[in-house]
């Protein structure tokens, strides 16, 4: 229970960063923090006490495994997170070269 709450607090921290910061790089960092909290939540959902990592050992077939389905989903989500983050950074560096600032208020005022 406490782990779910910590995970939720991490998500709220990311959300707070996205809403309050004015710097584009800070916004990207906050979004990746939100992503990380989501990954942690999925891994928590799949966890079973006393389970082992889901790798089949034919010599010893009586184990309980950790749920492999959330792990597979998170595996996909991590790679897509990398793709979105790199896309975001490309857009940010393009904006910086055009306007010379990271501040979103100044970019809004410039009306390019």
């Amino acid at each position: 229970m406490i782990a779910y709450i910590m995970c939720f607090i991490l998500f709220l921290v990311g959300l707070y960063g996205v809403i309050t910061r004015r710097n584009l790089v800070k916004i990207a960092v906050s979004m990746s923090i939100m992503e990380i909290s989501t990954f942690l939540f999925f891994a928590l959902v799949g966890y079973i006490d006393g389970g082992v990592a889901p790798i089949v050992d034919p010599a010893d077939p009586v184990k309980t495994y950790v749920d492999p389905l959330p792990q597979a989903l998170v595996l996909t989500a991590i790679v897509i997170g990398l793709a979105t983050t790199s896309m975001l950074m490309a857009i940010i560096i393009r904006l910086y070269r055009k306007y010379g600032t990271f501040d979103i208020r100044e970019i809004k005022n410039l009306k390019g």
Partner: protein, 164 residues
């Protein structure tokens, strides 16, 4: 992790903010190892390193200081809105947390089918690999499409001469 995240948001220097984000990512790796997910830990290490390199490259290419200025004048409305949003989010969190199992006691609902005889069906000893590449192969194909699209997008954005 939460301390690292808070520092990442409040740091004055952008470089230390990015590195604090990297700290959060690497502590996620430790959490994955504690939660018995070695595949996720491996992938997260690689992805986090690449993300850190990209972010550091962007930050070093530009100005590092964040300029602070005064907040807007209508701060009260923002504060009330923020508190309202947090209350609403906490409400939904309280609802959803009751529908979940207690940590460590979760039941295998769908995954029983994946676990039973997966080694014979997919020929892979690693169940995560079996699920990703065999039972959910279309998901993985979509993931590859997303990656290719992102690479094309980055190449398009970073062209030297943009059209006017």
């Amino acid at each position: 992790m939460i301390l690292g995240a808070l520092y990442a948001i409040h740091a004055k220097d952008l470089l230390s903010s990015v590195i604090a984000c990297g700290i959060v990512g690497y502590s996620l790796v430790i959490c994955f190892l504690l939660l018995k997910a070695p595949d996720l830990a491996i992938v997260q290490i690689v992805v986090d390193t690449i993300t850190l390199i990209i972010m550091v490259a962007v930050v070093l290419d530009s100005s590092r200081e964040e300029s602070y200025s005064k907040l807007d004048t209508h701060g009260y409305i923002s504060a009330v809105t923020g508190i309202l949003m947090i209350v609403i989010l906490l409400y939904f969190f309280a609802i959803s947390i009751q529908s979940l199992d207690v940590l460590g006691k979760s039941t295998l609902r769908m995954a029983n089918y994946y676990i039973e005889g997966a080694a014979q069906k997919t020929g892979s000893a690693n169940l995560v690999t079996g699920v990703v590449f065999d039972f959910r192969g279309y998901d993985t194909m979509g993931e590859a499409v997303v990656l290719v699209t992102a690479v094309l997008g980055v190449l398009t954005i970073l062209r030297l001469k943009g059209k006017k």
